[in-house]
């Protein structure tokens, strides 16, 4: 399905972001990419749709080398790769519907999209997707009128409107609270299994990754240091990925989150009784 073959990326400043990354992802597989900030997670998924140009190596989507494509054929392949972003990256001043329909831009000529004359099938599908993510009644609102969780749902609908063969997901929950984070992760994973979509999900939240991913890849300083099932992700592996100190802090952070949530639930219960 997707094969990454010894991909490397060195930025113009001389920073080596990725070194010799090789991976294969099967159809329908949801892969979590974990690692500390600066490990190259974002760079790696952006190399796949060439929002960042890889310096070396090849990336094959359905046996087609994405790295070798010219701009036109790259655009055609980008249509097949849906992307979901950390800060949602919705066009704030456009309506929810326009944001979802913007997933169709690569398939339509400029004048049609300029006049907002989308084919009936695209519009129908956009409404179906909005219904799927639970925002059917928000279609005509402006994107900046929605809450964080709702915006990310629009982002998901936009990616799905592309009819993608692959989903790239960059820290989908980084700007959300813990509860909404779990809802959004559950939605993404459900959708991937519904459509039998493979996905690469950058995620800094290890417990979330353990809960939802089928396979986990650990990056450290631009290299793959772990690749396996969540059950194989032991203390010692996590210490390798994050370094001892950061890993202890992250565990503590997670416990605090759980505590404060339990506390909130208890208080709510007390109020109700």
């Amino acid at each position: 399905m997707l094969t990454i073959d010894s991909v490397g990326k060195t930025y113009g400043t001389g920073d080596k972001a990725l070194t010799d990354i090789s991976l294969t992802i099967e159809k329908g597989q949801v892969v979590g990419l974990i690692g500390p900030s600066g490990a190259g997670k974002s760079t790696l998924i952006r190399c796949i749709n060439r929002l960042v140009e890889p310096s070396t190596g090849h990336i094959y989507l359905n046996d087609l080398d994405l790295v070798a494509l010219d701009q036109n054929r790259l655009r055609q392949q980008r249509r097949r790769i849906g992307m979901i972003f950390q800060e949602f990256a919705l066009v704030e001043r456009l309506t929810v519907m326009e944001n979802v329909l913007s997933g169709r831009l690569g398939y339509l000529p400029f004048w049609r999209t300029y006049l907002r004359r989308f084919p009936a099938s695209d519009i129908e599908n956009a409404y179906r997707l909005l219904d799927r993510v639970g925002l059917l009644d928000q279609a005509d609102k402006r994107a900046d009128a929605l809450s964080g969780g709702q915006r990310q749902r629009v982002g998901i609908a936009r990616a799905l409107a592309q009819h993608p063969d692959l989903l790239l997901v960059d820290e989908p929950t980084a700007s959300l609270d813990p509860k909404t984070s779990r809802q959004i992760m559950r939605l993404i994973v459900e959708i991937c299994s519904d459509y039998h979509l493979p996905a690469i999900i950058n995620i800094h939240d290890v417990p979330l990754a353990l809960q939802f991913m089928q396979r986990i890849i650990g990056l450290r300083q631009g290299r793959v240091v772990f690749d396996g099932a969540p059950s194989e992700l032991t203390e010692s592996v996590l210490t390798t990925i994050y370094g001892a100190e950061d890993w202890t802090n992250m565990q503590k952070q997670h416990e605090d989150d759980l505590d404060s949530e339990a506390d909130a639930t208890a208080r709510l219960g007390a109020l109700r009784s």
């Binding site: 655009r75 980008r78 992307m83 972003f85 990256a89 066009v91 300029y114």
Partner: protein
């Protein structure tokens, strides 16, 4: 109850903190002021003549005469307003592509250089100089004024539009690019929504600048209400000149208020 803290505070000097330099600079400034005043040669006869003329002007202003030159005034006004509106629209139409070309985050280096050069040329020439040039080329009248104002609008709008495009949220562009959208689709979906309110605001602001400029460039022969005003002053018809000034002020007020209202409404 006495507090242990001081009740008096003064802001310490931020620049020139050195205790010697501050009095030296004060003394130099005082010496310069005395010398400068001493070098003035005031011709009191001319001052009194000027005051008298100024007083007549003020009197004309206090009893403005709208009626005796009304035909000239209305022709001048219509010319000025036409010039203002057409030049603003033409200016916007030309500015948008140049502004896109002059945005570093959208254009290749060669395009950027060309568009920035056009902006630099347009901005470096003051309206009156451009007007004199166009009057020499195309003769007296509002056409020269129209060209002048269009030319000035291009420098103003393209520069500010380009800067606004450079300040946009790149993640929205990245997201639209990731869908496989083409260049113009990216402009239409990711950039236009982000810069549109400001572009409309700037265009309205330019409309109001263009009206004011249209009355100035009329004085060098580029038609409009400025030409009428110039004629009135040359004929010592200060009452008509006063009427024209009042009309200009009223129109500038009206444009100013309505444009700021529209800009607030757009946000």
């Amino acid at each position: 109850m006495t507090s242990r803290y001081p009740t008096h505070w003064r802001k310490p000097p931020q620049i020139l903190t050195h205790p010697v330099w501050r009095p030296i600079i004060w003394i130099l400034a005082a010496v310069y002021l005395v010398l400068a005043i001493g070098s003035l040669e005031v011709n009191w006869v001319r001052v009194s003549e000027g005051l008298e003329r100024g007083w007549r002007f003020v009197q004309g202003f206090l009893v403005p005469d709208f009626s005796s030159r009304w035909t000239d005034i209305s022709i001048g006004l219509v010319e000025s307003l036409t010039m203002t509106l057409t030049s603003t629209i033409v200016g916007i139409l030309i500015s948008v592509p140049i502004g896109i070309g002059a945005a570093r985050n959208l254009s290749p280096a060669w395009m950027y250089m060309i568009c920035r050069s056009i902006i630099a040329i347009s901005r470096s020439l003051q309206e009156i100089i451009v007007a004199i040039f166009f009057v020499a080329l195309f003769g007296f009248g509002p056409f020269a004024g129209f060209l002048t104002l269009s030319f000035a609008t291009i420098g103003f709008l393209s520069k500010l539009l380009a800067e606004d495009i450079e300040d946009i949220d790149e993640s929205q562009v990245e997201a639209i690019r990731a869908t496989g959208a083409g260049f113009w689709q990216i402009i239409n979906y990711a950039i236009q929504p982000q810069v549109m309110p400001r572009l409309v605001g700037l265009s309205l602001y330019r409309l109001d600048i263009n009206f004011r400029e249209s009355s100035v460039i009329g004085i060098v022969g580029a038609g409009g209400i400025g030409a009428t005003l110039n004629t009135a002053i040359d004929r010592y018809e200060y009452d008509s000149a006063g009427a024209i000034l009042i009309i200009i002020i009223m129109i500038v007020f009206a444009v100013e208020y309505s444009s700021s209202y529209i800009r607030r409404w757009l946000q």
